[in-house]
Symmetry: D2
Subunit: 266 residues, 4 copies
């Protein structure tokens, strides 16, 4: 087996005079000509996005980059406090919180919409107006309710009435001709869910980002990856700020000084 | 102390109706208007970059995003093989290799140049042409040699004669009016080091990226962070490819099947 | 809210003269008197284990500590190659592969057994001999089969007939009076599954470890944690060996030199 | 090159019927017979420790396992809050803080003592009593002072007069005949440093652990690894407690609700 080792890749390769990335000459064709968001899209999708796709994609990354003192931002700052020589460790610690609860909604929502569209089949393929989408959405919300599953993308602990990112991202997608079936279905869920759930919840920003990314044709199994990329930029911002104006020690002391010993139960 | 808890930040804050980032309304002012690379720069530097700065900055990120099957890319793929449910874990594992050896040159080079400029003082401030820069560079390379320290940014295991990224990034910086003292000093090191080291080494891509980032005014202590951000995009590309066309299992088997037991020495 | 901050813990606290851990004086009562495995058990379970429980527990940790060149061990070595200044990063990278595929069986198996026992209710509580356990096991395997779920703990890619750890751990548990319902049910699964699956698979070592840990009363949601603790010791062994006798660079080159560029499909 | 792939290891190997670890039959010879701490020592040192060595080693691990709500414990709990499905991610995030500041003293101290002994040469090899050690210590502290370097292992933010772990670990080492040159030199530093520094600082617990590990013959470049292993057990305790009695959300809210927006300076 050893003598037939072969590892295929469509990403980067190099020889003494040239570096190639995605089949192009990195220095001659990509540097200075391709934006960073554009490259990230290309690397994952395997195809170069159009300018409109890049605009929607970067709007999503901007929307997800930072939400202030999230648990992940605090974890990154505390790790930097403990090991300032390892910036990569602090960044990694922050990203490790990018799981089901605080960063997972984007992927969960994209997947829910894609699964619903797939199950709806022809009804989705031929949907011609809000009424058609509402019917598909109503059915999906009812089934989720019956299975006691949450509908991802509904509700927000702070933006209880309206998440300001949602209408803006829908508008940008519309401007670029990229308001596709995932976004339309998501909007329909926003209209019909009160009928089933008995109260009106806002379509949240993480959810609309998942819908927009799915409309861009990006693989729904990897949508969390874009949330992580966006968050990597936000975490660098936090680590830069932690250098200039640290809070990590104060967070640590606020917890440690208010620790109360409690005997184990058993 | 608990009653005066206060954690300052210039990054993100939100209230029920608005999300603010860097002092701006995220939805109204930033989404769709600010690029992702632009935002990353802004988050770290605390100021919005000019279009020229963004172009140089994104050229750097594109240059550093992927170098094929690096140890970090392989580590990320093996982690994904073992724990496919945790994309964040695979990404974090890949970034954790972003340390001194494979990703550190960018930061090391920026720091070496900044330290040299700082030590040169007036000579750097008034340098008017290649001859002036060569004198400063010659002195810096001689001191590094005397202290048995490596000059960061010189040499490359594959691009032994010329790293194709170097002249391109210098040209882009020149086009944008951003070929500043760090790049000029770096170029001078490229001209004079053979006099001291006795052989000509290429100025490598990681080094020129560090010089360009330093000329952008970004903090040299955080330059590694930009290499990590760039690499996050490259690693997502690897993980997407690992889903489509996996190599992780083959890498594992190539190692495990060729394991040879060797008795401990003691 | 800030004035009522209070963070309860049963673990460690300290004041200028004393360090307390789990309600005991660390220096006076624990150091030199409590073993490390014993302490790990105590920390998670919240109660001090008996000597017999410690013996079974440490046998599990020893069983899981190292399996040679696993993907996680290779990932840790490659990360150490790239960032040798950050031992914690290399260790973390290795642990991040401790997910569903390569380290998850222990937890999955413990959980499957616990769920089965819980569902069996009285039948499990009054099971008096192998026949009773076989009936419960047969039902559980049949239901898993009907739901197209795998029965965790069955089969091994290398030990196709018999995993040598399994009978040894059962014997140790028996010697210590700790061969409880989870292990008995696991053994029964080993006896009856061929009737349902049509072929005989070995009870694997990771699975028997999960069964033994569950019989120790450790929380099944955290069983993966013990596999990770065991693996932390194994990974330190790999990193120590990587210092003495490195293979990381050879692994990297074996992959990189056998990379083959393949055009993206789209 | 591919046809000569060969990866040597002294750790684990397996074939269909046997698993070998460190040259022994894992199931027949190690499980149930070797303790977990003993195995960790063996894996790193490449030789089986004596019972006395195991007792000192485990006393060190017990001493370092948990220090309450450290930054690393808080980071692990916040990560678990965000991504509860990935226990390995939370554990890894906690370990990533095991760097220079909060966990580095053990390694720094062992290294400082080893370097001092190496530099002292014959004087250390023939040191016969406290007076001899004091002379070596005095010289080392003076040189550190002259170079404006800290002497690792001196001082503690909480235990300002005496760290209770220090005399206990020295006593245990003495009982086992393992109070060697590193510990003796460390004790001498405790006696003489006030002459140079002008005030008396306690020998701290992390430092004495480094001295004891170095006296056990463990490689000083990897001492941080043992602190990380010990801390892995402590972090599992924190994560188990976070499941039972969570504080992560309260920490997050205490920070987020007390965030104060501050305009960027530039």
């Amino acid at each position: 087996m050893a003598d037939q080792l072969s590892f295929p890749t469509s990403l980067g390769t190099s020889d003494p005079t040239t570096i190639r990335l995605l089949g192009h000459d990195l220095a001659a064709d990509l540097m200075g000509s391709v934006g960073f968001g554009e490259l990230a899209y290309w690397l994952v999708a395997g195809r170069r996005p159009t300018p409109g796709e890049v605009r929607v994609f970067e709007a999503v990354l901007v929307a997800l980059a930072d939400h202030g003192f999230t648990p992940t931002a605090i974890a990154a700052r505390l790790t930097y406090l403990s090991a300032p020589e390892s910036l990569q460790g602090a960044l990694a610690a922050g990203l490790l919180g990018g799981g089901s609860r605080f960063l997972g909604v984007t992927e969960d929502c994209g997947r829910f919409l894609a699964d619903t569209l797939s199950a709806a089949g022809d009804a989705a393929a031929t949907a011609a107006g809000p009424g058609d989408w509402d019917a598909i959405a109503l059915d999906a919300v009812r089934r989720a309710r019956a299975d006691k599953r949450l509908v991802p993308g509904l509700g927000h602990p702070v933006h209880k009435e309206r998440d300001p990112r949602t209408p803006v991202l829908i508008r940008i997608a519309e401007e670029e001709g990229l308001r596709g079936p995932h976004l339309r279905l998501f909007e329909a869920i926003g209209r019909v869910h009160p009928q089933v759930l008995g109260r009106a919840l806002p379509l949240n920003g993480a959810g609309v980002c998942g819908a927009a990314l799915a409309d861009l044709g990006l693989p729904v199994e990897l949508l969390r990856g874009f949330a992580l990329l966006a968050r990597a930029a936000g975490l660098l911002g936090h680590l830069a700020e932690e250098r200039r104006d640290p809070i990590g020690m104060d967070v640590y002391l606020a917890v440690d000084r208010n620790a109360v010993y409690q005997p184990p139960e058993s």
